[in-house]
Structures are given as structure tokens and as C-alpha cells.
């Protein structure tokens, strides 16, 4: 197979301001790809999908973006990127511009952000056609319609005059793909194209990309952090970590006989739909463990769930609707949550799954009264949660806490970790004085696996996983009985996700916490939950034991959801 693109000894570094102190200021550099020993090297053959896999900060996006030089101005590249025998690093801006969108096209992660909101879909697809192929307006629009039909958008003619906001996330991504395909590129760079999408939509987009690649006989550079997705779509896999290629090879070899310890750890630490592990394997432990031949995680004795534990939360017919303005005077109620009922026992975990817009987060926020419920009743330990006012309400707040999805947004950037942890205790007058509270905060930090030096630091000094630990510690300051985990691990890397999930399990076993675990990721819910609610359009579609639900889903919707979960590389492919 002929090589379409060859990356040779690529190094990328970023200028990060200047060093102070010297008479002459020296630029400070941060290396993103490559190391002192040399840069990275790999090939993309013709008519092949090569997947770049790695966690955040591994340099996979930087590598892809340096091909067509879509990097910020402070980046410096060295090495060689040969496309059809031509070195793209030496190419002028004009040459690159002629190449971009024509021979090499890109699809990005966030379709909403990649489409220009003030132009119609038709105008945006027509633009590359007119620019690169010199088509007339009319011809370009006709071609745009064909392209929209090809990417499987229903009613393509009508969609041409639609604005991006009128389309769903999946449809927007289809439009992005149509734009990328407009000039029949030979290489499609897809940078996490399905990460922002629901599983079912992800499934559709993956199938679309695979079909288009086969039909058009083009090559694809597919960037993803998700090994499950990669296993399904890729022919070749390149595993990256910290700017270096750890392993590269055909997909079957990577999945069945991984050579590199990191690849093996990456494969092991992901929760699986069919897995029954009590704990997840953590990458560092795994790599360290391999040296000592202990590949399986130390299995802590499973704490059996007490099926007769007292009921903590009983929700009956919970409803939440938001008024939507229609016209000048009328407003319509948008029903975000409709008639949701469930019970949660002490020490148990209730999983809530559903696609975006299914009302699962709204339901969680309603439990904390961060949204006021429109109708229904929630009994918390026998008390009507929504009827409480004043002191009683404040007292109940202590018993139910929340951890949000995005650890970068949920901590106040102007508070030190100490302040963040002391505040809830000050509000609720826990502990005798600030000394005592600080001692409790330090104990909690230790409990979530952070050391005492974290106390005086600010959130920006921590990684995503560490921040999520801090957010968990903050929720624990009030010694709650119920923790609502709203997509609490969704924004984290696989390895970090495994650590945080293990932490949550440990805390549950030690403190007898009950969790409401909201997630779109069925595998993670499978790992955590005892009982699962499947939500769709604000309603509970199915409610069942976690094991039963996954083994024998009753509802169509649940089956579709399960079927859409990427399962990685399987030999039946």
C-alpha cells in the first residue's frame, strides 16, 4: 500500500513567554510532541484509517493539527511531514491554504463551535466548493445538496437554508463532515469527532465515516481518547503518551497482543459492559504491577449490599418544567422531567442513564433543590424535601450533596483549597473553630488521596482528576448521606476516571454513602450502580437492577442505547 502521508521525526514546541532575570530574556519553551531523543514518526497509507489514541496532554491533537499547520502562532515545528512526497513543513502559507479543505480536510470535536452561526448550512458547504473547485453559486448549492444527502441528513434541500442552531449535535457533525468531503479530500483528519455526541449518535457518525471512507477510498486520521471507538473504526493504531509514540501497529495486534505496558494498562483500566470487577485497574498501578507479575487488581472483598437498608430517598411523580416564551405574551411549559419515581436505600447506588436532553441532570439538581420541582414529592428519610424551609432546609442540605461534571468550573478559582473546604463547615457551624475545621479538611484531603500541601493552593494548580477529588472532598465536609454525582467522571481521562471511580467505591464502602450516579456512559454506570433508571425525554423508560438491565433489557430504547456502546476491537469485524 502506498504511503499517503509520512510523519518523520516531528517535534512541536510552544513558546510560553520569557524567562526573567537574565540581561537578555530567553524564550521559554514547552514541548508538546517529541523529546530530546527525537520526534515521532508514523505513516498513513492510502485508503486506511489510522487512529491516534492517547489521554489529554498526549500530543495527539497537536500532531494532527501540525500536518496542515492549524497550530497557534507560538508553535514551532521541526522534522518532516511528507504528503505525496512534498514536505508540508516547508510549504508556504499559500500552498497550505490551497491544500487545506482540498486535499486534506478536517472535522473537529465541537460541531456547534465549528460552524459559523450566522451563515446557512448551504452557504458554508458551498464555500469550499467555490473556493477550491471554482463552482458557480448555483452549482455549488446543488453539489451541497448531494453532499448532505450523502452524509445522511434527511430533507437535504430544506436543510440548505437552515442555520446551524436549528440542527441537533449529530446533524451538525454531519454537516461538518459534508463540508470536509466537499472537495473530495484524500486525507480526512477527524479530531475527536464523536466525543461531544451521544452514544447512539456516535454510532451513526462512526458508521457514516466508515462508509464514506470505503466509498471514496480516502485515508482518515482519526483522533480519539476512547479505545472502544478506535477499535471499531481503525485499521492502524498509534498510541501516544506525553508526546511520544508508545506503540503503533495494526488494530488487531494492538487489541489482542499489546506490546507496550501503557497500552495494556489503557486497555485494562476501562470499565467494561461485561466486566464484573469490583475495582478498576489504574494505569500506574498496572504498569508497576506488571513488573511484579500482578496483572489483576487487588480485589477488595466486595461489600454485599444490604437489600433491606433503610430507604433514604423516595421520589414520587417528580416533575420539572421550564417556561418557554412563545411570541409576546404566551409561554409554553417545556417538560424537562416528567413523573419520575424511584427509591434509594442507604449505601446503594442509583444509576441514571440517558442521552443529552433526557432530563437526568435536571432531575439531579431538583433533588438538591437547585431547581424547584414543579410537581411531585421527594421524601428524604421521611421528610418532605420540597416543603422544608429555613433552618430545616439548611439542615437537610448537609445530608445531600452534589459533585458536578466539570471540575474546572465547579471550584471557585479565587478560593484556596482550604477556603473551599472550610466554607461549608463555617456555614453549617461544623467544628468548634477554624483550627478544628482545618484539621477536618486536612483529614478529608488525605481521604481523597491528596496531601496537606494542597490546602494552601489554588484550583488552577491541579489537574482535572485532582480537582474532582477536591470537589468530592468539599461535598464530604458536610458528612452527607447522599451524593448526587452528575457526570462526575465524564470529563476525565480513562486512567483518572478509573482512580476517581475506585475512590467513590471506597468512600461508599467506608462511609455508607448512597449515590445518585448520573452518566451517559453505560459501562461506567454498570460498574457503579445497583439499580438503573433509563431516561428519555424526561421520562423514565426503564427501571431495573443493573445486572438485569444490561443482560436483558426490556425496552427498545435501552437495547438501542446498549447496542450503540462502542465495544472496541472484536474478531467478528
Amino acid at each position: 500500500m502506498a504511503t499517503l502521508l509520512r510523519i518523520e521525526d516531528l517535534n512541536v514546541r510552544f513558546r510560553l513567554g520569557r524567562e526573567q532575570g537574565q540581561a537578555k530574556t530567553q524564550p521559554r519553551w514547552g514541548r508538546a510532541v517529541g523529546d530530546d531523543a527525537g520526534g515521532i514518526t508514523f505513516d498513513i497509507p492510502e485508503n486506511t484509517t489510522v487512529a491516534l489514541v492517547g489521554e489529554s496532554g498526549s500530543g495527539k491533537s497537536v500532531t494532527a493539527m501540525s500536518i496542515v499547520n492549524l497550530l497557534p502562532d507560538n508553535a514551532e515545528r521541526s522534522g518532516r511531514i511528507l504528503f505525496d512526497g512534498r514536505d508540508l513543513l516547508q510549504a508556504s502559507t499559500a500552498e497550505l491554504r490551497a491544500l487545506r479543505g482540498r486535499a486534506i480536510a478536517c472535522v473537529f470535536q465541537d460541531p456547534m463551535g465549528s460552524l459559523n452561526p450566522v451563515f446557512t448550512v448551504g452557504a458554508q458547504i458551498a464555500e469550499p466548493l467555490r473556493l477550491h473547485l471554482g463552482l458557480s453559486r448555483r452549482a455549488a448549492l446543488a453539489r451541497a445538496e448531494e453532499l448532505l444527502a450523502e452524509v445522511g441528513l434527511p430533507e437535504p434541500k430544506r436543510r440548505l437554508s437552515a442555520y446551524p442552531h436549528a440542527l441537533s449535535g449529530g446533524q451538525q457533525q454531519r454537516v461538518m463532515i459534508a463540508m470536509a468531503l466537499a472537495c473530495e479530500p484524500r486525507l480526512l483528519i477527524a479530531d475527536e469527532p464523536t466525543t461531544a455526541l451521544d452514544v447512539t449518535v456516535q454510532r451513526q457518525i462512526l458508521e457514516l465515516l466508515a462508509r464514506l471512507k470505503a466509498e471514496r477510498r480516502m485515508s482518515m486520521l482519526f483522533i480519539s481518547h476512547d479505545l472502544g471507538v478506535v477499535g471499531e473504526i481503525a485499521d492502524q493504531v498509534v498510541v501516544m503518551r506525553q508526546g511520544k509514540v508508545r506503540e503503533a501497529g495494526p488494530v488487531a495486534a494492538i487489541f489482542t497482543a499489546p506490546q507496550d505496558a501503557y497500552t495494556r494498562a489503557l486497555l485494562a483500566c476501562r470499565p467494561r459492559l461485561d466486566g464484573t470487577a469490583r475495582r478498576l485497574v489504574v494505569i500506574d498501578e498496572h504498569i508497576a504491577g506488571e513488573a511484579g507479575q500482578a496483572v489483576t487488581a487487588p480485589a477488595s472483598p466486595a461489600v454485599p449490599r444490604d437489600a433491606s437498608a433503610p430507604v433514604l430517598i423516595e421520589a414520587r411523580g417528580l416533575c420539572k418544567s421550564f417556561p418557554i416564551r412563545e411570541g409576546l405574551f404566551r409561554s409554553r411549559a417545556f417538560k424537562a422531567v416528567q413523573d419520575v419515581s424511584f427509591t434509594l436505600r442507604r449505601g446503594h447506588t442509583l444509576g441514571v442513564v440517558g442521552e443529552s436532553g433526557s432530563g437526568k441532570t435536571t432531575m439531579g439538581l431538583t433533588l438538591l433543590r437547585l431547581h424547584e420541582a414543579t410537581a411531585g414529592q421527594v421524601l428524604f428519610d421521611g421528610q418532605d424535601l420540597f416543603a422544608l424551609q429555613g433552618v430545616a432546609r439548611q439542615a437537610l442540605r448537609r445530608r445531600i450533596q452534589i459533585v458536578f461534571q466539570n471540575p474546572y468550573a465547579s471550584l471557585n478559582p479565587r478560593f484556596t483549597i482550604g477556603q473551599t473546604l472550610l466554607e461549608p463547615m463555617q456555614i453549617h457551624a461544623i467544628g468548634t473553630d477554624d483550627r478544628d475545621r482545618a484539621a477536618r479538611a486536612l483529614a478529608l484531603l488525605e481521604r481523597v488521596g491528596l496531601d496537606a500541601t494542597a490546602f494552601g493552593k489554588y484550583p488552577h494548580e491541579f489537574s482535572g482528576g485532582q480537582r474532582q477529588r477536591i470537589a468530592i472532598a468539599r461535598a464530604l465536609t458536610l458528612s452527607p448521606e447522599v451524593l448526587v454525582l452528575d457526570e462526575a467522571v465524564s470529563a476525565l481521562d480513562v486512567s483518572v476516571q478509573a482512580q476517581v471511580l475506585n475512590l467513590l467505591k471506597d468512600l461508599q464502602d467506608q462511609l455508607g454513602l448512597a449515590y445518585v450516579f448520573i452518566s451517559h456512559d453505560l459501562a461506567v454506570v454498570r460498574f457503579m450502580a445497583d439499580e438503573v433508571l433509563v431516561m428519555k425525554d424526561g421520562r423514565v423508560v426503564e427501571r431495573a437492577d443493573a445486572q438485569t438491565l444490561l443482560a436483558a433489557p426490556r425496552e427498545d430504547y435501552t437495547r438501542r442505547l446498549l447496542g450503540a456502546v462502542p465495544r472496541g476491537y472484536t474478531t467478528t469485524q
Binding site: 513558546r15 510560553l16 513567554g17 520569557r18 526573567q20 524564550p27 497557534p72 502562532d73 507560538n74 439538581l365 438538591l368 437547585l370 439548611q394 442540605r397 448537609r398 450533596q401 452534589i402 458536578f404 461534571q405 466539570n406 468550573a409 465547579s410 471550584l411 471557585n412 478559582p413 479565587r414 478560593f415 484556596t416 482550604g418 466554607e423 461549608p424 456555614i427 453549617h428 483550627r435 482545618a438 484539621a439 486536612l442 496537606a452 500541601t453 490546602f455 494552601g456 493552593k457 489554588y458 494548580e461 470537589a471 468539599r474 461535598a475 465536609t477 458536610l478
Partner: protein
């Protein structure tokens, strides 16, 4: 629990960035110099007797030398009108007041007449009454800067509090505040200021109130937008979940995160209000007549300029221009240091 190390916060990082900004540092030094001058003037160390008539009327600056009419006779103003040449007639016999002359002479001797030596030139020239323009400009800095800073603080406090409530609560409260805002902005600014001035009268307090009460709208708008943005953020939600009251969320959580905007707005308004004070004083609506500010100096300069006495105008303008320019540059540097998002890529 002792000696917990506390990492560098946003402010110390901003200070580090500021240290790399040469223009910012110089302008800060100039502003600091003015601040020292202001303190010295306020405590009476300099320019305390700015009202003393130390020079002749319209004494020119020292650099230019004395005015031509005084250059001819240096010993002024001793020479009065010249007396008659012949000896005077003795009228003692017929003068009814003659017996009292001796008495008066002794009484007069008890009084001492101090002849004030009014110098023909002054460092930066003199005004109509012979007061030193330099002293006036220094004393005027005190009033002008004080008015500018205090008015900006008043405006920032009003704008921030109203903006916080409007942005955080929205709904009825937000609508009500928007009405107030719209009423204020629908009236031309200078007209509004004149209306307030007519009601409140002259004086430093009045000027501060006038400018503060009319100038908060821009700050309100910005702070409101920021609070709307932050009110829905997860960290504020998290604070609500742990039971923080609305006031705690507004002023403990959100305010520190938008404080750089308030600070930058505050310093922009200081510059604007100093200029407004000048306009008000120029129009005769500013500080009272026994005080001096850059504005009153400029107002006086108008009539002097026709007579060719330009130095009061020049001095007041120089002081104002240096301070306002330095303050504006400092504000720019502050904004760059506090809001790294605005900066382009460093190189």
C-alpha cells in the same frame, strides 16, 4: 496546622506580569508621585498658603524674567506719586486737628507697617491677585484627584451593587434596575450632571455626589453582564448546594471573580471624572470659590488669556495632562495584568 504555605493568588500573579510592563511601571511611578504630592498638600506640607499674594499681579514665570514695566524700576512698589517740590505751608494755627497730630504720631509709631515685598516673578507665574500658580496647581491637584477618585469609588460601589443584584437575581429585580438604568442613560449626560448640580449646589461633596450618582451606569452594565454569566456557573451552584446564602454567593464567590473588571472600570472613571470636574468648575458649578481645582484654574485662565497671561492655563493643563495620561496608561497596564485573556500570545 501552622505555617500553611499559601500559593500565589491571582493578585500576586498579576503583579508579576505588571513588573514586566515598563510603561505600566513608569506610569505607576508618576501616579504614585502625584499621590505623595496629594498627601503632602492635604497635610499642609506644601502649598498650604496658596492664597497668599506672593507676587505682583500677573507675575510672569521666573524663566521669562519680570514684566517690562517692572524691569525699569526694581524697587517697587515703594515709589508712589512724586511729592511737591517746595516746602509745605505751615497751617498749624488754623488747623483744628493740629493738637492731635502728636498724639496720632505716637499712636502710629506703635503700629508697625510691614511692607510686603511682592516679587516681580514667580516660579510658574502668578494670577490676577499675585498668587503662585504652582501652589494653586498643587493644591488644585489635591481637590481634582480627590474628587475624581471619590466620585469613581461612589460610582463603582453603586454600579457594582446594583449590577450584582440585577445580574444575579434577574426577574423583577433585574427589570426594575434596568428601568432605572434606562432612565439614567436616556438623559444626555451633561444635562443630567447640570440638573444634579443645580439641586446640590457647589462644593467638593456635591461634585463627588453629582459625578457618582450620574456615572455608575457603565459599571452597572458590565457588572450585571458578568454576574449573569457567573450566576449559572458550577462553582456558584456548588456554593448553593453547600447552603451559601444569595448574598454570600454574590459577594463572597462571584465578586472576587469579577473584581478585576470593577477595578479597571474604576480607574477609567477616575480619569473621566477628573475631566468632568474640570468642566463643572469651568462652568461655575464645581468646587466652591474659596477652593482651587484644575477646573477653576482653567476657568480663570480664559479671561487671562486675552490679556496675554498664558501661564496659569499652561500649568493647569500640564499637571492635568501628565496625571491623566499616567493614570490611563496605568489602567491599561492593570487591565493587561489582571485579565490575561485579553493579551495576545507573548513573544
Amino acid at each position: 496546622m501552622t505555617a500553611m504555605t499559601r500559593s500565589e493568588g491571582v493578585w500576586s500573579l498579576a503583579w508579576q506580569r505588571l513588573q514586566g510592563d515598563r510603561v505600566g511601571l513608569v506610569s505607576m511611578a508618576v501616579v504614585a508621585l502625584f499621590a505623595v504630592l496629594l498627601l503632602a498638600a492635604a497635610s499642609g506640607l506644601v502649598a498650604s498658603n496658596w492664597q497668599a499674594e506672593r507676587g505682583v499681579s500677573y507675575a510672569p514665570p521666573t524663566l521669562l524674567g519680570p514684566a517690562p514695566e517692572f524691569a525699569a524700576m526694581p524697587g517697587m512698589p515703594a515709589s508712589g506719586a512724586a511729592g511737591p517740590a517746595q516746602p509745605l505751608l505751615d497751617l498749624t494755627s488754623v488747623d483744628p486737628l493740629a493738637p492731635r497730630y502728636a498724639e496720632w504720631d505716637t499712636a502710629t509709631k506703635k503700629q508697625s507697617i510691614e511692607t510686603v515685598t511682592q516679587s516681580p516673578t514667580l516660579p510658574f507665574g502668578g494670577d490676577r491677585l499675585g498668587r503662585s500658580v504652582l501652589d494653586k496647581a498643587i493644591k488644585g491637584s489635591q481637590i481634582s484627584i480627590l474628587v475624581g477618585v471619590l466620585a469613581a469609588v461612589v460610582a463603582a460601589v453603586i454600579g457594582t451593587v446594583l449590577g450584582a443584584f440585577g445580574g444575579f437575581f434577574g426577574g423583577r429585580i433585574g427589570d426594575g434596575l434596568e428601568w432605572v438604568y434606562n432612565v439614567f442613560t436616556s438623559i444626555p449626560g451633561i444635562l443630567l450632571i447640570l440638573a444634579f448640580a443645580a439641586v446640590l449646589g457647589r462644593g467638593v461633596t456635591s461634585v463627588v455626589l453629582i459625578l457618582g450618582l450620574t456615572g455608575w451606569t457603565g459599571i452597572y452594565r458590565l457588572v450585571r453582564a458578568e454576574f449573569m454569566k457567573h450566576a449559572g456557573r458550577d462553582y456558584v451552584r456548588a456554593a448553593e448546594a453547600i447552603g451559601a446564602s444569595p448574598l454570600q454567593r454574590m459577594f463572597r464567590h462571584i465578586l472576587p471573580n469579577v473584581s478585576h473588571i470593577v477595578l479597571v472600570q474604576l480607574s477609567i472613571h477616575v480619569v473621566g471624572f477628573i475631566k468632568y470636574e474640570v468642566i463643572l468648575s469651568y462652568l461655575g458649578l464645581g468646587v466652591s470659590v474659596d477652593q482651587v481645582s484644575w477646573g477653576t484654574m482653567l476657568a480663570e485662565a480664559q479671561s487671562e488669556l486675552i490679556l496675554g497671561y498664558w501661564w496659569q492655563l499652561a500649568t493647569a493643563t500640564l499637571f492635568m495632562a501628565v496625571f491623566v495620561t499616567a493614570f490611563s496608561l496605568m489602567t491599561d497596564a492593570l487591565r493587561d495584568a489582571l485579565d490575561p485573556k485579553l493579551r495576545g500570545l507573548e513573544d
